[in-house]
């Protein structure tokens, strides 16, 4: 079956495949991209020919972990509807190779573009949409602007990275306060720490200066490009008040001719806090709604385009 390295059988080509006949899907896990630092990813494809494709851009840090299973379930749902999906881990994160210290906003977008190329090559699809959650939303939109006029789905997107980073740092400060109240050491200002050391500990995650500095100049609104495309924006909550940032984003997308659908899913996610991942994803009703809403929208979009 494979070559032998050391005393353990290695799989040729480094690709693992599983077939789920019941769901009619095939999954292929592999490393791809440039040799210096390969990207880990999983292709979820229908057993037959795919009618379209989607690349999923994951969020970062704790949010990446929170959204992980949801993305797997979404990809499986897409594949069973005939849409091929390429999921991936950014370099320097997850199972991918690379050093997170080197990773800038541009590098994140490059990763997404590499995943788009991988999907195109492996699933033989022309029409490719991109989906991103949280920070992955900015990356998804930037990658979409560079790769055609395919549909874009944004789940709870980070609209203003500067504000997002402030929230992340605030999370660390809250945790420090809690720790100090329990008699732990009083930590310093995380931003000062980042400036001084080039890296800061945010709740057990490495946060590097390269990302901090490169993210500042990339609000979501600035990554829309000029092409018309269908866009689905999904936010979690009860729908009371879209928020100034989201309204401005929707207005800007419509001004360049994009067909925007803005939907609320009545759910809540503690992206950074909330203890352990104490509930399995399949038990969250709102997560199932999020998945079915997204797959239905994408299928409708493909149908309308045909």
């Amino acid at each position: 079956m494979g070559s032998v390295t050391g005393d353990i059988e290695a799989i040729d080509g480094g690709r693992a495949t599983r077939l789920d006949q019941r769901a009619g899907i095939r999954e292929e896990a592999s490393f791809f991209g440039a040799d210096e630092a390969r990207i880990f990813g999983v292709l979820h494809a229908p057993v037959g020919a795919a009618v379209g494709g989607v690349v999923i851009c994951p969020p970062l840090y704790a949010e990446f972990v929170r959204n992980y299973r949801r993305e797997v379930l979404l990809a499986r749902a897409f594949a069973s509807c005939g849409v091929a999906v390429q999921r991936f881990h950014h370099r320097g994160t997850g199972n991918s190779e690379g050093d997170p210290a080197d990773h800038t906003f541009e590098a994140y977008v490059d990763d997404a573009m590499t995943a788009v190329a991988e999907l195109r090559a492996r699933a033989d699809v022309d029409r490719i949409g991109i989906l991103g959650t949280r920070w992955g939303g900015v990356v998804a939109m930037a990658a979409a602007a560079r790769s055609g006029d395919g549909p874009v789905v944004l789940w709870e997107p980070v609209i203003d990275p500067s504000r997002y980073l402030r929230e992340v740092f605030r999370g660390r400060s809250i945790s420090d306060l809690k720790s100090a109240a329990r008699g732990g050491a009083v930590a310093g200002d995380p931003l000062e720490e980042l400036r001084a050391n080039g890296v800061v500990d945010i709740l057990g995650y490495e946060f590097h200066r390269a990302l901090y500095e490169s993210a500042q100049g990339h609000p979501l609104e600035g990554e829309l490009g000029s092409r018309q495309r269908p866009v689905l924006i999904v936010q979690l909550g009860d729908g009371r008040g879209t928020g100034r940032d989201a309204s401005a984003l929707i207005g800007r997308l419509r001004s360049i001719g994009c067909a925007v659908e803005h939907r609320w899913v009545p759910g809540r996610e503690a992206w950074w806090f909330g203890g352990e991942l104490a509930q399995r994803e399949e038990e969250r009703v709102w997560a199932a709604s999020l998945v079915s809403l997204t797959t239905a929208w994408f299928a409708r979009t493909l149908e309308e385009e045909r």
Binding site: S3, V4, T5, G6, D7, I8, E9, A10, I11, D12, G13, G14, R15, A16, T17, R18, D20, E27, A29, S30, F31, D35, E36, A37, R38, F40, V42, Y61, V65, Y68, R69, V72, G92, T93, G94, N95, E97, G98, D99, A101, D201, L203, G204, Y205, E206, E276, L277, A278, Q279, R280, E281, E282, E283
Partner: protein, 322 residues
């Protein structure tokens, strides 16, 4: 053909690594794992890594387990990490993770997969819930050379974690009443508007106090609260002279239980294991890997122990219990 790759093995160090994903048969469908090949000469031993459970993936927080595998590979070990059923890329489902209702089947399936692929010897590495799974899956491990147990819970299901009892003591009814009297708040709280919520709070405190008394009674009566699922396999490891590294953090709830258990049978087992069992306690919280400093300290410790194991066939002969 599979090529060697350059990547970070941990803490900025760059080394060549080679990883291959694998799907393998689990109890509820396919499980997913990644095998890391040794970067230099192979030792012929595979580190099989069971993560912490609670719906987290085999990568661990901040790639902790990915780094662990890559660092082990840089020493010549093969390393295999996998997602439990219903988690990450694996199929199946799991409703709850409980410390004394672990499912060793997944780890046993990972061991079988490694044996099938040609693994001759193994080291089991388990984190928290994974440590208990490792203890339950000892027999499935191909020629077990050692075990690293990070913050293993030792209590039996349904017993109260000692840390929780201590926290309850801190908030005892007497202390609350005393504070209330001192600040003149008690009279205010007994006003009609507050009476209902105050009585609810008092009932809650009384229940906690009763729970505390019952738990204390159990601790005094014997060691029934210590899980046989922890003690039994630990004794077997000691009898078989298999090197074991136990790591706890001073802030781990599990460590408080461990300390309470030391004067009893657990302590006696460790005493018999002198020379093969090492207990290392780090300052802070190890189980949640909640800080970069703690992650580095734990990985360094595991690295050093694996190096000694490779060099001498036994773990470091150190035992340090504060």
């Amino acid at each position: 053909m599979v090529l060697e790759r350059m990547t970070r093995a941990g803490d900025g160090a760059v080394t060549s690594i080679l990883e291959t994903p694998r799907y393998f048969d689990g109890p509820e469908g396919a499980l997913f794992g990644i095998l890391t090949q040794p970067s230099g000469a192979a030792l012929g031993t595979t580190a099989i890594v069971a993560g912490g459970g609670w719906f987290g993936t085999s990568m661990g927080r901040n790639q902790l387990l990915v780094r662990l595998c890559r660092r082990a590979a840089s020493q010549g070990y093969h390393a295999f990490r996998f997602d439990y059923r219903g988690v990450g890329e694996s199929e199946g489902s799991i409703t709850r993770f409980e410390v004394d209702r672990w499912f060793p089947d997944d780890l046993e399936a990972a061991c079988r997969e490694m044996a099938r692929a040609g693994c001759a010897r193994s080291v089991l590495i388990g984190w928290c819930f994974g440590a208990r799974s490792a203890l339950a899956a000892l027999d499935a491990a191909p020629q077990l050379r050692g075990a690293i147990l990070v913050s293993p819970p030792i209590r039996r299901a349904g017993t109260v974690r000692w840390g929780a009892i201590e926290e309850t003591i801190d908030l005892s009814l007497w202390r609350l009443a005393r504070n209330g009297l001192r600040n003149g708040l008690l009279a205010e709280l007994l006003r009609r508007d507050y009476r209902r919520s105050v009585s609810k709070a008092i009932r809650k405190r009384l229940r906690a106090a009763s729970m505390r008394r019952r738990a204390r009674g159990r601790q005094r009566v014997g060691e029934g609260w210590v899980s046989p699922g922890f003690l039994g396999p630990l004794e077997r490891l000691v009898e078989r002279r298999v090197p074991v590294l136990l790591i706890y953090g001073t802030a781990d709830g599990e460590y408080r239980d461990f300390r309470r258990a030391l004067p009893g049978r657990v302590g006696r087992v460790l005493e018999r294991g002198k020379g093969t069992v090492s207990v290392v306690v780090l300052e802070g919280e190890v189980s949640a890997a909640g800080s970069l400093a703690m992650q580095s300290a734990t990985l360094d410790l595991i690295d050093a122990w694996l190096r000694d194991l490779a060099a001498s066939g036994t773990g470091p002969n150190e035992k340090r219990v504060p």
